[in-house]
């Protein structure tokens, strides 16, 4: 069973009008999920904090371009994802990212099963997550953290829905296999 973040009523319209309190509410709602997503992709604490900061500054500046208020979360994660891609470029990891994308299997199949982790496996879960290739990890994190739909993940990462489906399927399978191997 996957716990999906509830679709709560967020003061996006007020934030668009420049209301600082509304922005504070949005920040408190998304600061940690956004940080987790960025950190798990960049693996650098200070860089992650900087990227979260840049993401919110970008959001302040471009909130007018957001058409649907209920898509705020996806929109915010999309900005953060783009910031991560820029960070990979700065680190010269773009080639690695491209290679991993090429290695990805083309086929896709629906995967109704979700990952549940035993308490004693938590540390192992974090270690295994790090081993998953970047594009698959990105899709998996968006699915885990915010419960985004395939379409939303595709929009955030700038890929096709079929590709996201495939990435999620293989990432979950790999993760489950790794966790099963570790299980006593």
């Amino acid at each position: 069973m996957l716990v999906v973040a509830e679709r709560e009523q967020l003061p996006v319209a007020d934030a668009r009008a420049g209301n600082a309190e509304a922005w504070k509410t949005l920040f408190r709602r998304y600061r940690l999920p956004l940080y987790v997503y960025v950190f798990e992709l960049v693996r650098d604490e200070q860089a992650s904090l900087d990227l979260v900061q840049e993401t919110f500054i970008n959001a302040f500046r471009h909130i007018a371009s957001l058409r649907e208020d209920d898509k705020f979360g996806g929109w915010l994660f999309r900005i953060a994802h783009q910031k991560c891609v820029q960070q990979w470029r700065r680190q010269g990891r773009e080639a690695e990212l491209r290679e991993e994308m090429l290695r990805e299997p083309e086929t896709s199949s629906p995967d109704p099963l979700d990952v549940l982790v035993r308490e004693e496996q938590e540390a192992e879960f974090m270690r295994q997550l790090e081993k998953i290739p970047l594009p698959q990890r990105s899709a998996l994190l968006l699915h885990f953290i915010e419960g985004f739909s395939l379409e939303e993940i595709a929009r955030i990462t700038g890929t096709q829905v079929g590709t996201v489906k495939s990435r999620l399927h293989y990432a979950k399978r790999a993760l489950r296999k790794l966790l099963e191997e570790e299980a006593p």
Binding site: W23, K24, L49, R89, R90, I145
Partner: protein, 140 residues
Amino acid sequence: MKTPREILLNQHKSAEPRLDRMWTQKLVPALDGNATPVSRNVLFAAGWKMWQELILPSRRIWAGLACAWVVIAVMDLASSRTATEVARQTKPPSREEVRVLIEQRRMLTQLIGPPTEPAHSQKRTTPGPHSECAARTAAA
């Protein structure tokens, strides 16, 4: 049993105080528009951003282009020097050659007539001196 979301958020919960500090120290001023947290100098920030996003990721390509331009410049300089030297080395035409050329031009003039100037070149577009105008009127 825990969901991956719970595990992930718990693992990074320690970052929350730093994120809150970020809100008060960096994001609130940015939101108010009092200061840009990334850099106070907007032009410098824009230049730095362009350097990081446009130049730095493709530094090999830019270096290659720079090399190509240096090679082109060197080749251009080398070729212009050769042209000057060639011009210097060229002998002036001999008297016999000049005589033949003049003869050829004269024959050509005889055959097709003297070159006529186009009509518009004879037309005076600017007014002449006032004295000339007065003399013409008197003659008429």
